[in-house]
Amino acid sequence: MKATLEAINQMQADGVIGKYAIGGAVGATFYLDPAATVDLDIFVELPDPERGTLISLAPVYQFLKSRGCTELDEYIAIGGWPVQFLPPANPLEEEAIREAVATEAEGVSTWIMRAEHLVAIALSVGRPKDHARILKFLEQEAVDLEKLSVVLERHNLTSKWNDFGRRYPEGGR
C-alpha cells in the first residue's frame, strides 16, 4: 500500500489529479476492523475539467502506465493493489473528497473519507455488501449518528435511510 499511496501522492504533486480521498472497503477499514477486499477505491478530483466536456481519466492512466503500472479492466495496478479512480458522480461524493480526513498509512500521508460520508455513499449505492458495511459501522458505533443525519438530510437520503432501518431493524440504531 505504501508504494500505491506514494504513486498517487506523486500524481497529485504533479497536478495530474487534485484532491483525493480513499473510500470503499479500505476507507471503511480506517474506522472498522479490517475486512477482505481486493481493490482500492480512490475518489479523485480532476484539475480544471473544461466545462461541457466529458471527464477523462486518460491523464491518470498515461501517468501511471509511463511508470510501469498495468491496466486491468476498470482498474490500474499500482504497487500490488488494483486501484479504481472514481471522479465524483454527485455532490455527496464531491463533499466526501472535500472534507476527507488527513492521516498516514505506513508513513505516507493520505486522505480518508469521513465515516458519515462512507455510510451515506454506501447507502446511496445500496448493494448487499454496502448494506453489510453500514451495519458494521452501526454495530461498532463507528459513525456519529447526528453528523450522519445532517449529511443524509443535505443529500436527500433520509427516506432511503428510513427504508434501511425498516429492512434491518436489528441495525443497532
Binding site: M1, T29, Y31, D33, P34, A36, V38, E106, Q140
Partner: protein
C-alpha cells in the same frame, strides 16, 4: 475471545497495522480465487436438468 470483542480490538489498531492485515486478506482472496476454491453459483437451469 468473543467476535464483537475481537472486532473491537481490531478496530482500535492503527491504520498502518490494519493495512498489513488487509494485504494478507487480499493475498488469501487471490490464492483462493487462483485455486478455483470459490463456491460457484448453482446453474440457473439446474432444476430443468433433473
Amino acid at each position: 475471545m468473543s467476535k464483537p470483542k475481537l472486532q473491537a480490538r481490531m478496530a482500535k489498531l492503527s491504520f498502518t497495522e490494519k493495512i498489513k492485515i488487509l494485504e494478507k486478506l487480499r493475498d488469501r482472496e487471490k490464492a483462493i480465487a487462483a485455486a478455483g476454491l470459490r463456491r460457484k453459483p448453482p446453474k440457473a437451469n439446474a432444476a430443468d436438468e433433473e
